[in-house]
């Protein structure tokens, strides 16, 4: 029973690490994509504060 719980906890921590990694990778992807999107003149005009 304890072994099962330990394995489950380890899996949860693994999932946490994977989740944070995916977040970081998605963010860097979003940064690259946004640089492309921001090249459009009409879009820059749209988001002008």
């Amino acid at each position: 029973m304890n072994i099962k719980k330990t394995v489950l906890t380890m899996l949860q921590y693994l999932f946490f690490v994977l989740f944070v990694a995916v977040l970081l990778i998605t963010l860097s992807g979003a940064k690259m994509l946004s640089q492309e999107v921001l090249k459009n003149e009409w879009y820059r005009e749209l988001i002008r504060p």
Partner: protein
């Protein structure tokens, strides 16, 4: 059962207080009506997505780290929206105040409700209505600011003072609802 008071945050779980807290970051932005629409839709979209995402995945994360995961998630959204719209990430605070974090706290009742149970549709429906309530609230505030501040030129409504007055008026009316049981 699923919407208890969260003692860690000391914020009452009634809808209006959540909405008023969530509205505070909006007072910093100098929005016109159109930008207020865009920002509030962004807040509510992330709010609904967050509730949906964490309700179904919360058990996959370690109990001790659930709040941190929520924090990272919020930071990531704030950063991503900043990349695309250059909108200052204060709006993430609005999401933070709207979210019932109680279901992420292992000690809270809501977190002990099973992921797939009969109360889940009601829970989502309440969160859905809370989002709509927030949209309505922000738009009413932006409209009043637009009409009184810009069209009638009342200086106090171009500054946070007028909005604070409106907030206290809303809170007063909410407390004194005529048909409240």
């Amino acid at each position: 059962m699923v919407s208890g008071v969260d003692p860690a945050m000391k914020i009452p779980d009634s809808l209006l207080s959540r909405i008023i807290f969530a509205y505070l970051p909006f007072m910093v932005y100098a929005f016109d009506l159109e930008k207020a629409w865009i920002a509030v839709l962004c807040v509510v979209a992330v709010f609904w997505l967050t509730v949906f995402f964490f309700w179904f995945t919360r058990n996959l994360f370690p109990e001790k780290l659930r709040s941190e995961v929520f924090f990272f998630w919020l930071l990531a959204w704030a950063q991503a929206v900043w990349y695309f719209t250059k909108l200052q990430p204060l709006w993430a605070l609005s999401v933070f105040f709207l979210i019932p974090t109680s279901f992420l706290e292992p000690s809270q009742k809501a977190s002990r409700v099973r992921v797939f149970s009969r109360v889940v549709p009601r829970y989502f429906w309440e969160r859905f209505l809370a989002g709509f309530g927030f949209i309505g609230f922000v738009i009413v505030m932006a409209l009043v600011q637009e009409v009184l501040g810009r069209q009638f030129g009342m200086m106090s409504f171009q500054r946070p003072a007028g909005i604070l007055l409106l907030l206290s008026l809303a809170a007063f009316l909410w407390k004194n609802q005529p048909y409240q049981r």
